[in-house]
């Protein structure tokens, strides 16, 4: 780990002011950033500790929820309104990490997790365009079991590792951000980006912007939602495939659906194409499988993760069938 300065921000305006210094980074729970600093993948010269920023979870005027970015993952997962109105979010967080890590990790930090690609972590020993733009990608012909099947590029096949973000993608959440230039809100779908030829850039945040809150819209369908994570051991493993889904069935017809996938792309993957094919149809496995096939038709697997297409297809159908069964 390289030496760095550390300061605790008093409030949001103090945080964004301090973050103007070159080489500075915001520090939440540190469950990812500190690891990357230990591996010398990240070498910030200053850390601005934002764990003292607002961490409240409260109802907004429109009936949605606003979650302060410094809220700990555990607080979000255990919140009664989240458990009843957005169960997929609660389940995604619980599936996401050990209790110790959830107790440390903040919501804002979770959104900005970086990929767990082994070649990204191996500073000095392997090539990675995300870590060192232009040097090449050792994952494409290397170990890529955990890597992307959708939306990847010749320069990067990494996946976004968060479970929580998969649920947020399905929930049409929004993210409030602030910098010395002012505050803005952006749709969650526009927070993360695909790698293209700039894999070193994970998000659409401007330099110095701080995530201050996460906004969940009122979404009645989310009461009938869940999250399923498929992984190589029962706990403490990243998703091979995960599915966040909500389903509303009225009189034998699917009136609305939300579907997002994890473990498949450089960003949490909202399955719009599949959703469109499901709406208005009866809740039958064949419908779900056809929708999954359509969503996955663009998949470009790597030698190590070809199985993910079939796994995603089956998991999507199983999760949607389970939700449909609960409403039968």
């Amino acid at each position: 780990m390289s030496p760095f300065r550390y300061a605790r921000a008093a409030d949001v305006s103090d945080a964004v002011r301090q973050a103007q210094a070159a080489g500075s980074r915001f520090l939440g729970g540190g469950t990812n950033l500190v690891d990357l600093m230990r591996e010398t993948v990240e070498r910030p010269t200053a850390l601005v500790d934002v764990t003292g920023m607002p961490a409240d979870i409260g109802e907004s005027a429109d009936g949605g929820l606003v979650i302060g970015a410094a809220a700990r993952n555990t607080a979000v997962a255990e919140h009664p309104l989240i458990r009843t109105r957005y169960p997929m979010l609660s389940r995604a967080i619980v599936a996401g990490a050990s209790a110790q890590i959830r107790n440390m990790a903040t919501v804002g930090g979770n959104l900005l997790q970086r990929t767990r690609c082994a070649y990204f972590y191996d500073n000095g020993g392997s090539r990675c365009n995300k870590r060192q733009p232009g040097e090449g990608c050792d994952a494409i012909d290397g170990f890529n079991r955990y890597h992307a099947i959708l939306g990847a590029s010749p320069s990067c096949v990494a996946v976004h590792p968060s479970d929580m973000c998969v649920a947020l993608a399905a929930l049409d959440a929004a993210v409030n951000v602030e910098s010395v230039h002012g505050a803005r809100s952006l749709p969650f779908a526009e927070l993360h980006r695909l790698p293209g030829d700039l894999p070193q850039i994970d998000t659409c945040l401007e330099p110095g912007e701080l995530i201050t809150a996460l906004v969940l819209p009122p979404l009645p369908i989310a009461r009938h939602s869940t999250y399923r994570k498929v992984r190589d051991r029962s706990s403490y493993a990243f998703a091979l495939i995960s599915v966040a889904a909500a389903l509303d069935v009225q009189d034998g017809i699917i009136t609305d659906v939300r579907l997002a996938l994890g473990g498949v792309a450089h960003k949490p993957w909202r399955a719009h194409e599949a959703e469109a094919l499901i709406r208005g149809k009866p809740p039958e496995p064949a419908v779900f499988l056809a929708a999954a096939d359509a969503e996955l038709s663009a998949a470009q697997p790597l030698p190590g993760n070809r199985f993910k297409i079939e796994l995603a297809r089956r998991t999507i159908a199983a999760v949607l069938s389970e939700l449909a069964g609960e409403q039968a």
């Binding site: 767990r116 020993g125 290397g142 190589d232 051991r233 706990s235 493993a237």
Partner: protein
Amino acid sequence: MSIAKDAKQAAQGAMQGMMAKAVALAPDSWVPGGKPDPLIQHRHGHVGQPVSRIDGPLKVTGNARFAAEFSFEGMVYGALSYATIARGRVTALDTAEAEAAPGVVAVMTHLNAPRLNPPPVFMSAAKAAGGDDLPVMQDDRVHWNGQPIAVVLAETQEQADHAASLVRATYAQEPPITSFAQAMAQGTAPGLFMGQPLHNASGDAEAALAAAEVRIDRTYRTPRHNHNAIELHAATVAWDGDTLRIHDASQLVAHTAWSIARMFGIEENQVVVTSPFVGGGFGGKCLWQHQIIAAAAAKLAGRPVRLVLSREGVYRLVGGRSLTEQRVALGANREGQLAALIHTGTTAKTRHNVLPEPFIMPTRSAYAAENLLLDVQTVELDMLANTFMRAPGESVGTFALESAMDELAEALGMDPIELRLRNEPEKDPLSGLPFSSRHLSESWRAGAERFGWHLRSPRPAAHRDGEWLVGMGCATGTYPYYRMPGGAARITLTDEGRAAVDIAAHEMGMGTATAQTQVAAERLGLPLDAVAFNYGDSTLPGVVLAGGSQQTASIGASVIAAHRALVRELLRIAGNDSPLAGLGPDEVAGRDGGLCKHDAPDRQESYASILRRAGQKSLTVEARPPDPLETMHWSMHSHAAMFCEVRVNAVTGEPRISRFLGSFDCGRILNPKTAASQFRGGIIMGMGLALMEETQFDERSGRVMNPSLSEYHVPVHMDVPEIDVIWNDIADPHTPMGARGIGEIGITGTAAAIANAVYNATGKRVRDLPITLDKLL
């Protein structure tokens, strides 16, 4: 390996071969263990009691000090930089930035390291401990991706870690051989293990296979594995003049002291290695570069050094289990009697070590097949030297052998337990030696009843519970009894009736200190709290490797020898005024704090009385046991019947173990509490072997890509169901205490039992480990 070494190994092998024939034919009474250890008859004493760990309170209160917790005045902290190529030379090393970093005391590289002899590679001499024989930081050669090229010493660990990241190396790369397939294509060489060829043949197995009514001929693959003991490897070292003090985490303190002395060109007694507690060994806590680098750097800097490997460091410096590709071919008649058993294949090693993963070991004595062909071939890669890892050979060998037995049972339409019972041998199928104690059939019957084996459907994929396919499988586990030469023990008895047993043995969490205190107390006839068992110090008697599950036997035989010397001396000084007068060592036993006549317990005198009358405050004796000829006279093996119930998700393929039972035939159990933990721990490691463990060795670069507990998967709590363990407690009449070591057998057979259960659940036969969900979709 050089030709000279090959010749030496071959000569040793030939000698051993001749010796073995003579010992096999000798009368029982000439052979160690020919007369049963009298302790076997003690059924109601300390031995066999579930005594809690005597070091338990120290450990749970944090007062047990491990290698990285000792410190010296003026100590500095070390951190390593590793090579990033698999083969070539370091052409430039820029250490200026590291040297200028805050707190840095010294940077050692091959350019300024003290001159050292190469490490004596394991098995090249009685006390050789080196994982390989490569020079340590002596030249610019790079032999594997991850080899240490520099060590930074600094005032704090954080300063050392940072400065180590600033060392810049430039390399001249040479084309490495890092691909198993590429190496295989260039040809293989016969494997040698302990000086003996890994090759056995009797009859004509290929012809018998071709003629068999029912045949199975399959290839099984197992990947590389890395050691992941919870305690990181560490050494805290200091020089006092020409004497070197090492606080190590070690399973071979005497070997390490001798080997390091050789490297530094000093006397063996100038190196003192202690290791009172070890946080897991499994074959990995031996002599690797970190102890040597720490000692050399301490010499260079003139300061004591603590060098703790990071978890990545353990992957870069400490060898693990090599990969294997195994063929198992079985030929049987319709009744399931084996006519042909072929177990051959290839494993990878390096040019600089001597341990091909000996996967045919479990097959040698497994089944009564008339025609056997066993063979291990090797290829040499540019990689970190592989090494022992819990049941080297048996762990992955039983996966192949016992999966094939399950496949044969399927082909015969026979219950897999019945198939095994029908092939249970009367004597060792290769050597013809009698078994010292083999009760595997009883273990099968007891296990089957307890597990509810009759509930298993012989038809695969027949049992579904919601999304989950449920199946049962079984397999035989086996591990040999070993006892290595070199044991010795010292016993000191005081006139207060207290005893100390001193032996350079090891406590790595198995419960050795506890069980051996029980044994010594029983042998001496003393209460537990009157006996101190001192170990983990190279200055104590004995060369006792805590490996090969042989430490129990090695300590046991050493203490028997020392005890006999003690009794002889006690009888001598007791003289004619003692109730024991006239009795010989074979006529007395330890009881109630003294000696008594076996069959007349009232002829007794306490140790205190004997010593006081002789005017001695204490009495000390030291003795060595006879060489371990018993393994040339009997075929000595432990066995286990392993049972698994697995659930495989029909949607996702996720395999999860729901029940497990191990039914053991391991001789007498000295302490059921610590033994159960050993059995369960081995089984859990076998679960990892079956379902998840795999070192991601990038064959392009020779680099390990998952050097962390996050990415290298071992079972987490949720992966491990309650594990039932039972044992028959039948004493082996030819071993000390009637016991056989139990540290490794738990991992054997387990992977096959799981793979066979997966087949029973799904109808899918997975022959390459680990059994990950993608193989079951």
